[in-house]
C-alpha cells in the first residue's frame, strides 16, 4: 500500500472501529428497532390492512424501513463521531496529519456509510427470514440504497462539523429527519392520503428516496425513477461539495 492509501485506510478504520466498540448501541439497538417495526406493522397491523397496491402490507413497509435504518444510522454515526472528536480535541490528531480535506471527508463519510450498510444488511436478512421479500429491480435498488446512504453520511458530516453541542445533532435528527422520514411514506402510500397531504408529501425529498428503494424491492413506485435518481445524485453531489469546502477552509474545525 502507498503512504496515501495507508493514511486513508487508517482514517476510515478509526471511524469503523469507533462504532464497532459500542456495537450494542450502534448496531444492536437499531437492528432491534427495525425488527420491532416489522413485527408491529407486519404481524399486528399487517393482517388487518391486507394489501396496498396489490402488495402484502408488511412487504410494502420493509423497503422503507431498510432505507430508514441506513439513513438514520449513517447520519447519526457521522454527526456524533465528528462532534465527539471536536469536543475531546482528538480530531486535532487527524487535522494536523498530512491528510488532505478530501481524504478526511471521505473517511468520515464512509464510516457512517458502513454502519448504515451493516445495519441495513442485517435488517434485510432478518426481514427475509420473516417474510418472502422480493428484489424486482436490483439495478435500481443497489445504486438507490448506496446513494441514500451516502447522502445521509454527508448530511451527518455537515451537521457534525457545524454542531457545537450534542443538542444541535439531536435537534436535526428528532425534529427534522425523523418527521420527514415518517411522513415520507415509509408506512403508507401517499396516494391514499387526502388532499392537501398527498400534494405536500411530494415536497418531501425523503418520499422520493423511499419510492426508489421500494421500487427496487417490490417494483411499485409513485414517482419517476430516473428523475428521482438524478435528483438524488445532484443533491448528494451538492452536499459533498459543501462539505469539501468546509474541510478545505477548516470551518469550525481549525481556528
Amino acid at each position: 500500500m502507498s503512504v496515501a492509501q495507508i493514511r486513508f485506510f487508517t482514517l476510515w478504520r478509526r471511524e469503523v472501529s469507533r462504532f464497532m466498540k459500542i456495537k450494542k448501541q450502534t448496531l444492536g439497538a437499531p437492528l432491534l428497532e427495525t425488527f420491532l417495526y416489522i413485527s408491529v406493522f407486519g404481524a399486528a397491523l399487517g393482517s388487518r390492512v391486507g394489501e396496498l397496491h396489490g402488495i402484502e402490507y408488511v412487504v410494502f413497509v420493509i423497503p422503507g424501513l431498510i432505507m430508514m435504518t441506513w439513513s438514520i444510522n449513517a447520519f447519526s454515526n457521522n454527526s456524533s463521531s465528528i462532534l465527539q472528536q471536536k469536543f475531546q480535541g482528538a480530531i486535532q490528531d487527524q487535522l494536523s496529519s498530512p491528510a488532505s480535506p478530501m481524504e478526511l471527508l471521505l473517511a468520515f463519510s464512509l464510516g457512517g456509510f458502513m454502519r448504515g450498510l451493516i445495519v441495513a444488511l442485517l435488517a434485510f436478512v432478518a426481514a427475509s427470514l420473516l417474510v418472502d421479500l422480493p428484489i424486482d429491480h436490483i439495478l435500481v435498488l443497489i445504486p438507490g440504497l448506496f446513494l441514500v446512504g451516502f447522502f445521509f453520511s454527508q448530511l451527518g458530516v455537515l451537521v457534525g462539523v457545524r454542531a457545537e453541542q450534542f443538542d444541535d445533532v439531536s435537534f436535526v435528527q428528532t425534529f427534522v429527519l425523523q418527521p420527514l422520514i415518517f411522513l415520507g411514506g415509509v408506512f403508507y402510500s401517499a396516494e391514499l392520503l387526502p388532499q392537501p397531504f398527498e400534494t405536500l408529501t411530494h415536497f418531501n425529498p425523503i418520499y422520493y428516496m423511499i419510492n426508489l428503494v421500494r421500487y427496487g424491492f417490490v417494483g411499485y413506485t409513485e414517482v419517476s425513477i430516473p428523475l428521482s435518481l438524478l435528483a438524488l445524485v445532484a443533491a448528494t453531489g451538492a452536499l459533498f461539495a459543501v462539505n469539501l469546502r468546509l474541510f478545505s477552509t477548516g470551518y469550525k474545525l481549525r481556528a
Binding site: M1, L11, G89, Q92, P98, A255
Partner: protein, 257 residues
C-alpha cells in the same frame, strides 16, 4: 526554499472576532536546535504552533518546515512535524496502543514499522502495561506520556512541545527532559513552550520572547539577560511582562546585609 527547520515570515493571525493573535511574526529555527518560545498566557505561543501544524489558518505570511510550505502544500511539512499539544486531546474510544498505531497510520507508516515503533515507545514512556487500557481510564500523567509518545510515533524531524510538563510530577518531568535531550542530540529539532523558565534556561540553546503577538527578543539565555540588564532569564522575562518588582534575585540582594 529555506534550509531552516522552521522558517516563519511575517505571520499574521487575526481571528474572526478581530483579535490579532500574531502580528507579523518572523522566526527562524536552525536544524538540530533546541528552541524555547516563552511568553505570558495569551501572548500567541499556541497560535503560532497551531498555524505551523495546520490547526489554525494563518491570515497572511509564510511558514516553511525544512524548506516545505506548511500552509498550502503542507504534506511534506506536516510529515516532518510532531506535536505534543498542551491539551490532553486523546481519543476516548481508543486504547493506548491503538492511539499510537492510528497516529502512525495517519502519517502513512506501514504496519510492521508501526508495530515496532509502538513497542519501542510504549517501553520508553513506561506504558507497556497500559497498552490495552482505554485512554479515558488513564491518569493525567499517563495521558501526558501517551501524548508525547504519540507525537514521536512517526519520527518527526521537528518536535513541538507545547507546555509538556504542565501539571506533571517531577519524575515524569525529568524522564521527559532526559529523553528529549537525547533525541535532540541525535538530530531532532525541538520547539518548546514552557512556563518553567529554569527548564528553558537549562535545555534551550536559543530562546525567543513573544508578547502580545510579537517576537520581542531572541537569543541565548545569556544574551537575553544582558539585553534586559538583569542577572538571569527569569528577570529578563519579568522585565518583558513589566513585573520587575517580582524579581527573586533582586529580593535576595535587598535582604543580604
Amino acid at each position: 526554499m529555506s534550509d531552516k527547520a522552521l522558517h516563519i515570515t511575517d505571520l499574521v493571525k487575526r481571528y474572526p472576532a478581530g483579535v490579532e493573535a500574531l502580528r507579523s511574526v518572523s522566526l527562524d529555527i536552525e536544524p538540530g536546535e533546541f528552541f524555547g518560545l516563552l511568553g505570558p498566557n495569551g501572548a500567541g505561543k499556541s497560535t503560532l504552533i497551531h498555524c505551523t501544524t495546520g490547526l489554525a489558518q494563518p491570515t497572511s505570511g509564510a511558514i516553511e518546515v525544512f524548506g516545505h510550505d506548511a500552509i498550502d502544500n503542507y504534506g511534506e511539512a506536516r510529515q516532518a512535524v510532531g506535536l505534543a499539544p498542551q491539551e490532553l486531546n486523546i481519543d476516548w474510544f481508543l486504547t493506548v496502543e491503538e492511539t499510537l498505531d492510528y497516529h502512525a497510520g495517519y502519517f502513512g507508516m506501514p504496519k510492521r514499522e508501526r508495530r515496532e515503533r509502538t513497542k519501542e515507545l510504549l517501553e520508553t514512556f513506561s506504558l507497556t502495561e497500559k497498552r490495552d487500557e482505554r485512554t479515558r481510564n488513564l491518569s493525567g500523567g499517563m495521558k501526558r506520556r501517551l501524548i508525547l509518545a504519540r507525537a514521536l510515533m512517526h519520527r518527526p524531524r521537528l518536535l513541538i512541545l507545547d507546555e509538556p510538563t504542565a501539571g506533571v510530577d517531577i519524575e515524569l518531568r525529568l524522564e521527559l527532559w532526559h529523553y528529549v535531550q537525547r533525541i535532540n542530540q541525535e538530530g531532532t529539532t525541538i520547539l518548546l513552550t514552557t512556563h518553567y523558565l529554569e527548564e528553558a534556561e537549562q535545555l534551550c540553546s536559543k530562546i525567543a520572547f513573544i508578547n502580545d503577538g510579537e517576537i520581542v527578543a531572541q537569543g541565548s539565555s545569556r544574551e537575553l539577560s544582558d539585553r534586559y540588564g538583569v542577572p538571569n532569564l527569569e528577570d529578563a522575562y519579568l522585565a518583558l511582562v513589566g513585573r520587575k518588582e517580582l524579581s527573586r534575585s533582586q529580593a535576595e540582594v535587598e535582604v543580604t546585609p
